[in-house]
Subunit: 195 residues, 2 copies
Amino acid sequence: MGRPKSFDEDAVLDRAIEQFWATGYHAVSVRDLEASTGVLKGSLYAAFGDKRALFIAALLRYASQSADQIRELLAHGETPRDGLEHYLRVRGRDCTGPHRTRGCLLANTAAEVAPHDAEIRAVVGQSFEKLADALVPAIRAAQAQRLINRRHEAKELAAHLVVLVQGMSVVGKTEPDSSLIRSSLRFALTLLNPD
Amino acid sequence: MGRPKSFDEDAVLDRAIEQFWATGYHAVSVRDLEASTGVLKGSLYAAFGDKRALFIAALLRYASQSADQIRELLAHGETPRDGLEHYLRVRGRDCTGPHRTRGCLLANTAAEVAPHDAEIRAVVGQSFEKLADALVPAIRAAQAQRLINRRHEAKELAAHLVVLVQGMSVVGKTEPDSSLIRSSLRFALTLLNPD
DNA sequence: CCATTACTTGAACGCTCGTCCAAAAATCAC
DNA sequence: GTGATTTTTGGACGAGCGTTCAAGTAATGG
């Protein structure tokens, strides 16, 4: 009982994700969040605690959505190799072009906030590791079917791709035409070629 | 004539680099800079303009120092391949371990500030491109001597390594032990193997 | 229909931010 | 020594920050 909530918390988190993603943690004010979510600050404080707690909630939601999307992208196509290629191409597309300068919220947060906040650092670090863990079985499967290069350890290739994708999301924020991203993506795709 | 400056501008910029590097642009206040440089804010404003201008001056200095260091690292060892390997190993070491969470100021700036400031974006973007341009001749030379893999375009490998290194500096900020960095570095070194 | 409960509302708080500027201090030219 | 010139100094300013909270509002239980 009591007065019912006038907003959906997940919808608010989605708007908060957008805002933090586009603008960064420090550069977003609680009043900005008020404006973009349509929820007055008092209610935001009642629902989430404070700015940092709201950010962490948004970050966890983003990480979870991101993990779902990886599984989806890797399942694309007929073979495990298709999935890997699709994943890389989509990630490349996400950070190419003049209007794709948001990069990845996890990478942005790693750069801006992680060193100064152990809890946030743990969230981001675990997300990176989960991403690598999701790539490993796809790589192993593709190797088993001899669809990609077998010279490399699956774990090492997975780590390499995780680091590369985060690098693309950072470098992509500085280059509207993104020749570096494109070249680096082309190179990465050759890593998937069979022996 | 007139009262002489009581501080060296480059020394102030070096302290500012440290501060922005460790803490980020928005999270550093002019009073922090006052404390870390030992120069009162009025003098900072007189010498550099405002916080943003001081940041840009520091960023340009960092970029220039960084470019010098790349040339130095690539010149290490007996062969062009040694230089490339040394460059990657040092960059890996720079962002591995619990006390190396500053990453790279260019990457941090790309993530936090670049999307919202065209001038800063241009500085960072050009630095990335210059870095790639510095790698290309080393790669070509190593290929010509058949010291590394010749299957790949030098430009694409260079772009790949630039993006990878920026990725390492970002991912490294979240992992005190940095297994992802280590794996990805090991993988990158295999890319330098001869055919 | 009233007490209870939960959420909303927006004014207010103390603080810190980036920036400015008048006065004091240090140098040089003459 | 004196005036011109430049830098230093640190107090002050308005704006905006994250946060709090008392009052108002909408639902429920009896």
